[in-house]
């Protein structure tokens, strides 16, 4: 091996975590607008299939990413219609979206089983990639890894520094007040859902284009649910989503390497760790007085315009 084992491990952690970063950000933007979308898993797998199909058809990576984002948005728009316009229960609708996405991708994806996507080239950042150890670990990745970091940065800026982000948060904290101030609660939530769908779609596509890279039905294997847990763990902050995703990815990869090195910590304990950490985070958040770390006030509450 030309690179040290440590470097390889970090490199693998970044790859294993990236789908979670995208999906986590996708869930975060919706929850900040007050929408609880449990359909992330379904959005991911539909994006996974769409991106894979596009790559297989010979389109370049950037097109495949857009196709995946569009597929995620398209499916999310159904959710938006049901929840925002027809006032369906968001929890039930989100669960249905997951099941629907899994089924739809299985149906449409059966012809893609057994095929392999072209390999995605790495974008090596000149200069930085020569730094010992971390150069290879952090600065020679496929473009989507960098995109995930840029997305988190953009979302942080949007939510904390921009006026539009402030409005989105207002809608999430108290939709009645936002409405009485003249903001379109439905419109803003609709956009948030579309954005979230697109990000979840890209997260799924990362699995089929880079991480595995193949498509089989059900291949998201619960990552959408981990993304939802990450958002809570991150107390609704974009950069903490990255931290949480890397922590989760880190534990899973280190666990695998530990086994191959013959370090005998029970694998089951390590598999449990990320979930235990999430539960602890939940408890800490719940024990605080309502403050900056708590959930958006109107999260998951249906908004009806009073006539």
């Amino acid at each position: 091996m030309e690179y040290g084992l440590f470097t390889s491990i970090i490199h693998a952690i970044v790859i294993a975590s990236t789908p979670l970063v995208f999906a986590g950000l996708g869930a975060l933007i919706q929850e900040r607008a007050g929408v609880l979308n449990l359909g992330i898993e379904g959005l991911m797998i539909v994006g996974a299939l769409a991106g894979f199909a596009s790559a297989l058809a010979g389109y370049p990576l950037i097109v495949s990413v857009f196709v995946a984002a569009f597929a995620g948005s398209a499916l999310a728009s159904i959710f938006a219609l049901l929840v925002l316009r027809l006032y369906a229960n968001p929890v039930a609708t989100g669960l249905a979206l997951t099941l629907f996405g899994l089924g739809l991708s299985a149906l449409a994806g059966s012809q893609y089983v057994g095929q392999a996507a072209p390999q995605v080239a790495e974008w090596i950042i000149p200069g930085l990639n020569h730094i010992p150890v971390i150069g290879r670990a952090f600065f020679s990745h496929d473009p989507l890894v960098y995109l995930s970091i840029v997305m988190a940065g953009t979302m942080w800026w949007f939510l904390t520094k921009s006026r539009a982000g402030l409005i989105l948060r207002a809608v999430g904290e108290n939709h009645s007040s936002a409405h009485s101030l003249g903001f379109s609660v439905i419109g803003i939530r609709f956009l948030a859902i579309l954005t979230g769908g697109a990000l979840a779609g890209i997260g799924g596509a990362y699995l089929t284009l880079v991480q595995t890279p193949l498509f089989v039905e059900g291949m998201t294997a619960g990552r959408g649910w981990i993304a939802l847990a990450l958002v809570v763990f991150a107390s609704w902050r974009p950069f903490r989503v990255i931290a949480g995703a890397y922590l989760f990815g880190g534990v899973s990869i280190v666990q695998l390497h530990g086994q191959a090195l013959g370090i005998s910590i029970a694998a089951q304990w390590l598999s449990m760790l990320p979930y235990l950490v999430t539960i602890c985070a939940l408890v800490i958040i719940a024990s605080r007085v309502k403050g900056e770390n708590s959930a958006p006030g109107s999260l998951g509450i249906t908004f009806k315009e009073s006539k």
Partner: protein, 357 residues
Amino acid sequence: MNINKIICRFVGLCLTALIALPAVADKTKVGFVYVGPVADAGWTYEHDQGRLAVEKKYGDKVETVFVESVSEGPDAERVIAQMAADGANVVFTTSFGYMNPTLKVAKQFPNVKFEHATGYKRADNVATYSSRFYEGRHVLGLIAGKMTKTNTIGYIASFPIPEVVRGINAAYLAAKSVNPAVKFKVIWVSTWFDPGKEADAAKALIDQGADILMQHTDSAAPMKIAEERGIYAFGQASDQAAYGPNAQLTAIIDDWAPYYVRRVGDVINGSWASTDTWGGFDTGMVALAPYGKAVPAEVKKMADEARKAITEGRLHAFTGPVNKQDGTPWLKAGETADDGTLLGMNFYVEGIEGSLP
């Protein structure tokens, strides 16, 4: 229980009987419960090929139904019971974890026949069947031992059940017999099917020096990773050359068709009995995919000879002297393992590093 409930149950039973009876009268209804999706290109796919073979053989005389992606646990019990209640004459439950649910449901439906794959508990109406995959693993082990340059074989394992442990031991003993310096690195991923995690495990093994991968999980992700990294791997459950045209050395293929056709025939003509079938190369239930182009001629020859010897009963994958991992003797020189020990195998043989989870 109040009277209303009794009436409700009675009406329900009558309705079930009404729906079920016509099906029973005309056709033999055969149910299959799958742990993964039919399109997994592996374990479940091969079971479904067996189901299709049954349909092809008996045509109008049978009706087959299946439910895929049934998780092992309470869900399985519900699905199996539903199949039995819907008038299935025989139900094949095709994963180890369905063992207790199958037995539980079998008690409630004494007239329905059940067949559980890879388990060891039977009843009057529950038969078990499995394949001697370890015979295939022996051949893979020989090829791996001969072809590894780094003397490190990576093994992606699912759960520490006897079936999986036996495969690791068989492959290791065979590899060791042709290459005393060989080492096995085993990673337990605690899942049968998670392409992402299987791919991560494959990468971890390659990063730690493995140049040949074996797996006992159900997706083709490790094969794809092997292809990308330019190393070799063995396909699992079915031919995975599509994912690794250069990487696949061969694959163990589970061929359930001969068994399913025979057993459904027994149900149709009324001669079905609870049996325990464990077929290997000799019954055709275990087969190998064509060798990859990377396999040298002399290795092919060696593999073919071993396969022939096993088929003819001249060679057993577990032949002494073999010690357990802790050094205690298990098989004396020339002694072969009995099926009972193999079916309950819960220890590594001497030479494998690490401990069972």
